[in-house]
């Protein structure tokens, strides 16, 4: 709760007296069950389709369950197995690098893009729609296009070599780190449009008067961006940062697409979710170990979120 909330009071007027007065009156006006009625449907869905399966995951983590049968209690064996899993070490490092690179880029770039398409210019509907298409492009076509770009004999290597930047091709799709960064660029490419529209909806709330006042004061574009736009969308930005963190730690499809599901030589370019998928899919899937990995990922995700919440509270 504190994570995203506390900055909102910034907008509240400083006249504390009237505010407490109305607040206490509103408590009398607000019937006690009204909020419960409003959240009731959401809570039903939360319990049936989210919490119930989550409990399932937690229980499975202590069993050797398979999709069909099995499922004796095995204590903490699945968690002990993690300690010996050197693929998991690679996956954790990858997921964390992924998050650290994606977080700043995807927080800022979609906001800039939103500012670019915010202004009503002729044809802007077309651009907005076009920028959103990567979000919904089919995985098969994305794989084709990106391989065509990044392949040893692909467009980027061909251009770089013909311009004399490179003597030989860069192994974008086979070297561990290059592969990771190729996947990150794919994530950012897809994320641009996705986060752009969330920012757009928040930009409407940024007061134009403030912008104009700052312009009158002689603030340049950069200053106005930092002192008006960013504080104005701060709430949304924090929410977006949470979403980026969660989805970066859970990256799957980009790495899967670029390595054709192999996870690279030695499986060193797998993410944690790729490991979960590998173990859980199919008839012989090891649901127990996959569930234990899910819980590990949950714990790891909580960490950076707490950090973010702390930073937010301090500033």
């Amino acid at each position: 709760m504190v994570l995203l909330a506390n900055r909102d009071r910034r907008r509240a007027p400083h006249g504390g007296g009237t505010r407490t007065g109305t607040a206490s009156r509103s408590i009398r006006q607000q019937r006690w069950f009204a909020p419960l009625l409003l959240v009731a449907p959401a809570v039903v869905w939360l319990v049936v389709f989210n919490i119930w399966p989550s409990i399932n995951t937690v229980v499975l983590a202590f069993t050797n369950a398979k999709p069909l049968g099995g499922g004796s209690f095995v204590g903490t064996a699945n968690f002990e197995r993690m300690l010996d899993d050197d693929q998991l070490v690679y996956a954790l490092i990858n997921s964390i690098v992924y998050m650290l690179v994606c977080l700043p880029l995807l927080t800022v770039l979609p906001l800039l893009l939103a500012l670019l398409v915010e202004k009503r210019l002729p044809g802007i509907t077309f651009f907005r729609t076009a920028f959103y298409t990567p979000v919904i492009a089919s995985a098969v076509v994305v794989a084709l296009i990106w391989n065509w770009l990044l392949d040893d004999r692909g467009a980027i290597n061909a251009i770089a070599q013909s311009l004399g930047f490179l003597s030989g091709p860069l192994p974008f799709l086979t070297d561990r780190w290059l592969l990771l960064f190729s996947a990150i660029s794919l994530t950012i490419w897809k994320g641009l449009g996705y986060y752009m529209i969330i920012y757009l909806s928040a930009l409407g709330n940024v007061s134009r008067e403030l912008h104009e006042a700052a312009a009158v004061d002689g603030a340049g574009v950069v200053r106005r961006f930092l002192s008006v736009t960013v504080p104005g969308v701060r709430n949304t930005m924090l929410l977006i940062m949470v979403l980026i963190m969660v989805s970066a730690l859970r990256v799957f499809s980009e790495l899967f697409i670029l390595t054709n599901g192999t996870g690279g030589p030695g499986g060193r370019v797998m993410s944690v979710v790729m490991l979960i998928q590998m173990y859980s899919r199919g008839f012989t899937g090891n649901l127990g170990y996959a569930s234990a990995l899910s819980i590990l990922l949950f714990v790891i995700t909580v960490g950076p979120m707490v950090v973010l919440a702390r930073m937010n509270r301090r500033s």
Binding site: L38, L239, L243, I276
Partner: protein, 285 residues
């Protein structure tokens, strides 16, 4: 007067800025539309043309609409699209109502358990759900909803992510607006309708798009829930184009393009609402 010219400059765009903006728009366009163009061009290529080459050509040499005709001959497009539309509408309405109500209550009302519910929503958002799909199916089956479109739609009808997005939008409404309404004696419902909703239309259109696309594009879940082909959604039904022993990439691309159209329409219609947040809402006065 300098102030008015500045204000003028703020509302419209100088020619130089216009050129710069269009240049940037075109750069981003070039980066983003590749896959879309490739698919469009593949779907228009004639049977004599090679699809996969080391230097893809974006212009079909023998442009034809035959592939679209073949899709409509192979697959009952209208039935499947109707099913998809039903699921999407169900999910969109569910999210627009459910996520809005919950987002409003969590952001704007104080009540016992509110923080706890909020924490649970965040928690379920970060616990990976990869291993739960079979359990989810069994839940739906126990409700007697296996092989029904409602069964397909139900789990996504109130998305936890959408609640969070609506929550953020409601939090962004200035407190003084709400206070003013309270002073006027507005009850919870009136505050939601008259103060809340006009200021969150942007985010409401965003979650509508997310919900629509999520429902429209989903493949694995409807595949598992549905059995009778007459209930298939479009993404599942289009798999008929990808049969055993032969698959024509031109026809598959045409099918994908057809599935793409409704998304583009929904997006193009809703994107104009992104900006009608505060600027046209109650804060204006």
């Amino acid at each position: 007067m300098p102030a008015t010219t500045r204000a003028y400059a703020f509302n419209s765009v100088s020619p130089r800025e216009k050129v710069l903006r269009y240049a940037l728009l075109l750069v981003v366009l070039a980066i983003t539309v590749g896959p879309f163009l490739w698919q469009l061009s593949t779907s228009l290529k004639g049977a004599g043309e090679d699809i996969y080459t080391s230097t893809p050509s974006f212009l079909p040499a023998e442009p034809t609409l035959d592939n679209y005709v073949r899709v409509s001959e192979t697959v009952p497009i209208w039935t499947f699209a109707g099913n998809s539309l039903f699921v999407a509408a169900f999910v969109v309405i569910g999210n627009a109502v459910g996520a809005t109500l919950a987002g409003f209550a969590l952001a704007r009302l104080r009540f016992r358990g509110g923080k706890f519910i909020f924490a649970l929503i965040i928690a379920t958002l970060i616990l990976p759900g990869e291993v739960t799909i079979i359990a989810q199916y069994i839940t739906i089956r126990e409700m007697g909803l296996a092989d029904t479109l409602v069964g397909v739609a139900l789990p996504g009808t109130i998305g936890m992510l959408n609640i969070l997005l609506m929550w953020a939008a409601f939090r962004a409404i200035p407190q003084e607006l709400d206070d003013a309404a309270k002073v006027d004696g507005a009850n919870v419902w009136q505050r939601l309708i008259h103060v809340g909703l006009p200021n969150v239309r942007g985010m409401l259109s965003v979650i509508t798009i997310f919900a629509f696309i999520g429902a429209w594009d989903d493949f694995l879940w409807p595949l598992i829930v549905l059995t009778d082909p007459s209930n298939y959604t479009l993404t599942v039904g289009l798999q008929y184009l990808n049969g055993a022993f032969s698959a024509n990439p031109r026809v598959i691309a045409a099918g994908t393009m057809i599935a793409f159209i409704p998304i583009v329409i929904v997006f193009a219609v809703l994107q104009r609402f992104f900006f009608r947040g505060v600027e046209e809402g109650a804060i204006k006065g």
